[in-house]
Subunit: 327 residues, 2 copies
DNA sequence: GGGCCCGATGTTATCCATCACATTTCGCGA
DNA sequence: TCGCGAAATGTGATGGATAACATCGGGCCC
């Protein structure tokens, strides 16, 4: 509360407050030399816009609400990172609220908290179905986005699953396993579905499936009990890189070498993947880009422009490294 | 803009708008049965508080600005994660703005953006000195925090560096190297200083020092040229785990085995550290706790309570694993 | 030179919740 | 039953910006 208002500025500049307001909004109807005087007064007084007052009258805001779940995971974090950069470029601020995506009541409260804050739209970083549902239910109140589906194509994550699977079949693996993320997450389901479909389409079979919680710890626990030898499994896919890393550790603990005995492929392509031992084969998913895309499409909806101008998403790409090899 | 105001609610409940306002603020001076009628009207109309109007009149906000830099790194992200959880508990929202911490002008603009948004305080997640400086310069305008220093003690990160160093000397290493993060970051400098001081205090010497940018890629590049054999270095510390991981890979590439030829210890204790091969020895740093602590102390300052009630920070703890061994 | 028109600028009302103060209601003792 | 003080409730003004409308001043045309 510096307390400097447009009236103070107006007095110093020798104009009316309305002229100051017009200048601030970049209106055409201000003579250049008048603008200069206003700007000088603005600087001299250290004026700062009171966006609350602006909103109260005009209903315009440059704030977007974000429901964030599990910011301890690389996926949501990378998405968020993409969101913040894109938001900055478009002149928006993000209002972040942490939610427990497994608690419908908490999601609803968080949403209320955001909606009481005058935001122009809402984005869900936590793409668990609970959050998606909550958004869908109250989506009428404000523009909201919760997932990206490239027009007419499969979801990005489905493609990522497929790319991983095809890499394995290309290497000759037909008896495979898959360690998915929590299936309450859209991303986990899509990746799993894409993987399973591609394996089936190429005549292989997914002989084992597990459901982790994205964490390395969960993958390690599950990894110790995968019936690799019993079922003759030669390759395993994982829903994200953290799980792939711990999976490899769990297999190693059991005397199963990667990739000699079992190939393992992750998903995400975290920055460290190529420096691991063995270097982790994985599918890079452009989550920063996805975040930028979500933000752009939301802003497009808010500001009423077509929305086709958003940059194309980088498709999932195979990063073949040391943790996978021919059968 | 649902458009429901307290006047609408008041009409339905058969009271004055002021009574509704009092009820919303939890005032004592409302009879229970009146309160019920108001609540019923609130629900019936789907009223939502207009925080802009509230701010305009009362000057109160429950929003905090956050300057976020490098959200692609685990450190800042974990801090942010701690901030969001703590903020939620205290009833605050975080207004996040991405900044380029290497560009003073950009930091200043971001700060202006935040300050134009009616926030109760500002937190810098990007602890590069540029950001710290910008905050210090304009800190008079609003409560701001940019770093945590435990009263009367060394900074947490200095302790972390010391813990890593002492682990190495305990194992008999006296000729060591250190790969620091970018020294424009307080955290990087503290960790490096703590490490160097502890090594010196125990009669060892830091024969090589490098400065990475926190990224695995930078560490790999530097790792290929460390004169390990020439200088007789037997152990190397790294400013964070990402760099430690890539450092191990770079050494392996040169035929130097970890830990047999060289011990390597990281800092942070990322979730995957224990599942790597070799499992990464590191120093766990409670960055979530640090975030919670920063938020608490800021909120304490804002709300005017003593601030001593904040939970104690978990001190850095040695996680001795497979990447370090006796000389 | 007069009238018209348009761009630049000024004036007043308004957005919605809170503050400060005014008024009514209630409970209880005399 | 009345009066009093405290609690409950109501009334009007206010915060800082924008919207809508009014006015002023020139340039241009005839």
């Amino acid at each position: 509360m510096t307390g400097v208002t447009i009236y103070d500025v107006a007095k110093v500049a020798g104009v009316s407050h309305q002229t100051v307001s017009r200048y601030l909004r970049g209106s055409e109807h201000v003579r250049p030399e008048t603008g200069e005087r206003v700007q000088a007064a603005l600087d001299a007084l250290g004026y700062r816009l009171n966006s609350a007052a602006r909103y109260l009258r005009s209903g315009r805001v440059n704030r977007l609400g974000v429901l964030a779940h599990r910011l301890d995971l690389s996926g949501p974090v990378r998405l968020l990172n993409g969101l913040t950069s894109a938001a900055r470029e478009r002149g928006y601020l993000l209002d972040i609220v942490a939610v427990d995506g497994n608690d419908a009541h908490d999601v609803s409260r968080a949403l209320s908290l955001i909606l009481g804050q005058q935001v122009a739209g809402v984005i869900a970083v936590a793409q668990s179905t609970l959050v998606t549902q909550a958004i869908a239910e109250r989506g009428a109140e404000l523009p909201m986005v919760s997932d990206v589906t490239v027009e007419g194509e499969s979801p990005l994550n489905e493609i990522a699953g497929r790319v991983a699977a095809e890499h394995l079949t290309d290497l000759g693996h037909t008896r495979v396993g898959y360690l998915a993320g929590p299936l309450t997450w859209l991303a986990a389901r899509h990746r799993q579905d894409g993987f399973a479909q591609a394996i089936a389409a190429r005549g292989g079979s997914v002989l084992w499936q597990g459901e982790g919680d994205w964490s390395a710890a969960s993958a390690y626990a599950l990894g110790t009990s995968i019936p690799v030898r019993e079922l003759g499994i030669t390759a395993i896919g994982a829903g994200n890189d953290s799980m792939a890393i711990a999976l490899i550790a769990a297999l190693a603990r059991r005397g199963l070498r990667v990739p000699d005995d079992v190939s393992v492929i992750g998903t995400d392509d975290v920055a460290e993947a190529q420096y691991l031992q063995p270097a982790l084969s994985t599918v890079s998913v452009d989550q920063e880009g996805e975040g930028a895309h979500m933000l752009d499409s939301l802003v497009a909806r808010i500001e009423g422009w077509p929305g086709a101008g958003v940059p194309p998403l980088q498709p999932p790409r195979l990063m073949a490294r040391g943790s996978t090899t021919t059968r």
